[in-house]
């Protein structure tokens, strides 16, 4: 009897659960014309308050402000309500697992109305499942209501991803205000102690690393065993980017660069292997961090070693040692090691022409898209327009005078360390200014004047030196728009992981085994989807550009 009741119950619940999953069908296209006619929208303002939810990265900083509720969110909320009668709420998403998190939210139909991600394949995948709004008709229909968005992003960034055949547009691309990417840093005080000059070639760089290793007792004393002459993390393709790029042909054709360019860490570009071979040599000479492959994304072990003063040189984002005010790497170094201890930028990796070519991306950054659960695409676009207004960008980047910045005698903005609600969780509040990356004040003159003062506690000449090196011999990426590449869907993350595996295993292989390991691991990468992408890109290039090797 008991058993019967139990099984009856279970059967009932099974049936009930099946039925419960029945509702909630929200397929079907929204016609923007209908929307416009129906909308109570006049002179840029809604008659009835609209509500939208906006994604915001949560960096989980120690002692940071609440990403959903601080001085800057208040500013945006107030402005949006006054200017457009739109009520904005923020929803935080962990920065380092954003793709997983957004996937979950999208699959559960609870994604924010305005979503932002670095991963275009994620957007493309959901677009194919009918989960993303086509922005093409909206940005055109409401062009006159979105002056700031069009002014700032322009046709280039708004229509960057517009499908050349179907005309669909799944996202708009944020714009890079500066192209600075990755450069190399070295301990100035170590060079001074050893009476060395900053290296300008790979040879000199290697000699310098060897000198660091040979003089550990002088440089580190009791901590000699902790010495790491050159530090690279598991993400070798990023953290040795300029080294790897120096082995690429600076005059490589657009076609070759594009076809092999799915991986933004340049794994499949011609020449990369030789760059990694050099790293492999250094690793086996004991010049690198032995345990690098065991620490994952977001781990602070490596940063802590830099801060403690064990690391001689590293390659990273152009302003990496200056970031985070009091907690910056250089500020920590000064506290832990001494007043003269600091990392400075160098440009030691020459390419075959003797220049220092850096392959940077086009002027695009994060991608903003609206999931199909967004019922207020216009209000959401107005949001993007609002945060793209020059004066709003400026406020979000520098905050209030006296609180987050001071104005110097010549009118430049000097950023200072803030407290409480006014703390920016990301440099220049990049997480709120989702249509811009990099300092962009209301005038270019002001921007240039203030750039060096943007890092509290860091001497202006160090920042400007980094900026200059990061802008030396740039090769800026072009928009090869051939529509969706089917082979790229759903494999992005798998391939990124395999790419890291190729790099990591190749670096730690013995010198004799290097070729064997590299070839075997690369083959694995290619057979897991890499080759299919290269083939499809080759085909598409031919279809759109014929036999031409360059992009007009």
């Amino acid at each position: 009897m008991k058993k019967k009741i139990l099984s009856l119950l279970l059967v009932c619940t099974m049936a009930a659960s099946m039925a419960a999953c029945g509702g909630n069908d929200n397929g079907g296209k929204v016609d923007p014309e209908v929307k416009k006619a129906a909308a109570d929208f006049e002179n840029g303002k809604f008659k009835e308050t609209k509500h939208i939810v906006v994604e915001i990265y949560d960096r989980g900083n120690d002692g940071g402000s609440d990403p959903e509720n601080n001085m800057y969110t208040d500013y945006i909320k107030k402005g949006m309500l006054e200017d457009h009668n739109v009520d904005v709420t923020f929803k935080k998403v962990p920065r380092w697992t954003e793709v997983e998190e957004i996937n979950n939210l999208l699959a559960a139909n609870t994604a924010p109305d305005v979503c932002v991600t670095y991963s275009y394949p994620t957007i493309q995948t959901y677009a194919n499942m009918g989960g993303v709004i086509d922005l093409a008709p909206y940005v055109e229909t409401y062009k006159s209501d979105l002056p700031n968005l069009w002014n700032w992003l322009g046709d280039t960034n708004i229509n960057w991803d517009k499908d050349p055949k179907t005309g669909t547009l799944w996202c708009v691309e944020a714009k890079l205000a500066v192209s600075n990417r990755v450069i190399t840093f070295v301990r100035q005080d170590w060079l001074d102690k050893l009476g060395m000059k900053a290296p300008t070639t790979k040879d000199e760089f290697e000699k310098m690393l060897v000198a660091f290793k040979d003089n550990t007792d002088t440089l580190l004393g009791a901590d000699a065993s902790r010495m790491i002459p050159y530090s690279v993390s598991y993400d070798v393709g990023w953290r040795a980017a300029t080294l790897i790029e120096s082995f690429l042909d600076p005059k490589m054709s657009d076609k070759e660069y594009y076809i092999n360019g799915f991986d933004d860490r340049k794994l499949t570009e011609n020449g990369t292997k030789e760059g990694v071979r050099l790293l492999n040599k250094w690793y086996n000479m004991g010049l690198m961090w032995n345990d690098f492959a065991q620490y994952g994304s977001g781990d602070t072990t490596e940063d802590d070693m830099m801060k403690a003063g064990f690391v001689g040189a590293f390659t990273h984002n152009w302003d990496y040692p200056y970031r985070n005010g009091d907690d910056s790497i250089n500020a920590n170094l000064q506290r832990n090691v001494g007043k003269d201890a600091k990392f400075v930028a160098i440009d030691p990796f020459e390419d075959k022409n003797g220049t220092h070519t850096k392959f940077v991306s086009g002027p695009i950054d994060r991608k903003v898209f609206f999931p199909s659960t967004n019922k207020e695409p216009l209000a959401s676009l107005l949001y993007l327009d609002w945060i793209s207004a020059p004066e709003h960008i400026q406020y979000l980047q520098i905050g209030d005078e006296g609180v987050t910045h001071d104005v110097t005698a010549d009118g430049a903005i000097q950023v200072k360390t803030a407290t409480g609600n006014a703390i920016m969780n990301s440099g220049m509040n990049i997480d709120y200014t989702i249509t811009v990356n990099g300092l962009k004040l209301t005038s270019e003159e002001l921007t240039n004047k203030s750039r060096a003062l943007n890092y509290p506690g860091i001497p202006a000449e160090d920042v400007m030196n980094s900026h200059k090196i990061a802008n030396t011999d740039l090769r800026i990426g072009k928009n090869v728009n051939v529509g969706a590449i089917a082979a790229e869907e759903g494999v992005g993350d798998t391939l990124s992981q395999l790419r890291d595996t190729v790099y990591d295993k190749a670096v730690v292989a013995s010198v004799a085994d290097f070729d064997k390991v590299w070839d075997a691991e690369l083959k694995n990468y290619l057979s897991s989807g890499g080759q299919a992408i290269i083939d499809e890109r080759t085909e598409k290039w031919k279809e759109f550009f014929g036999d031409s090797d360059t992009l007009k």
Binding site: N26, G27, E100, N103, G130, D291, D504
Partner: protein
Amino acid sequence: MAAEKKEEKVKKVVVPKQKVDFKTYMRRYWQLYFLLSLPLVYLVVFKYVPMAYVQIAFKKYMIGKNIWTMPWAGDHGFQYFIEAFKKPAFLKALRNTLLLNALDLVLGFPMPIIFALILNELPFKGFKKCVQTIAYMPHFLSWVIIGSLSLQLFAKDSGMVNMLVTSLGGKPIPFLTENAPWVFTYVGWGIWQSFGWNSIVYLAAIAGISPDLYEAAAMDGAGRFQKMWHITLPSLKPTIVVLLIMNLGYIMGGGMERPMALGNRLVSDYSEVIATYVYNAGIKGSQFSLTTAVGLFQSVVGIILILSANFISRKLGERGIW
């Protein structure tokens, strides 16, 4: 066997007398049913409702649609199963799952039994309790913590063990960076984490063995090992069989925390298991249909394994789990 017979007897006597209907039952035992309802709700919400979504494995997942209106996948709905078996990454994950779980079973399953036997021989109660408690502790550590412990102990440069080895003039042991040593590190941590906790069941079973048997054996001149071999172990047999069957069911399963926390890119040829594959390809790569198919395949094989192990053990005259 004896216990079962007794139960049957009781039933035969009781059932005809009390032909009670549902209402009476409820009135009389409603407190018990009320208590039961909580775990039942849990089962329904987390185990049964999600089952409706198993059909995603046979359909083309579309985010905008609900699962009843999604189109069927090709190959009579089996498109994604066929696709999975063509993917080298899945095949590798399948192999690793079987390999790591089999090693866990072979090396890890006897440990708690041996531990329980040893504990049972300890004459000092206080010492025994103390050892027992310490052995249970690792069970309460999450794999993330064990993962960082593992780094602190076994990393090539900064791991304590390797620092000791190098300071004694040896070469660092690649516990975490080469395939074969890593597999044993992985299995070792598993044993370390679970042997104490898993021994509880055996200790309880041992406590239930009648002291008469031991006394009789002692009278016949049996020593410690003979008592262990002829009394303790045979008495544990039913418990061992039941646990073995249940463990066989896990051979296709396993969570993702352990391989995630202990693995790294250098050993990914062996640390990628089905659970991590599903996470990477499904949650991160949004191939929902494919990974649901993989998950379903995993569960079906698990059930087949349990059923056949159960069947065999009954054939061999042991008690199964049903």
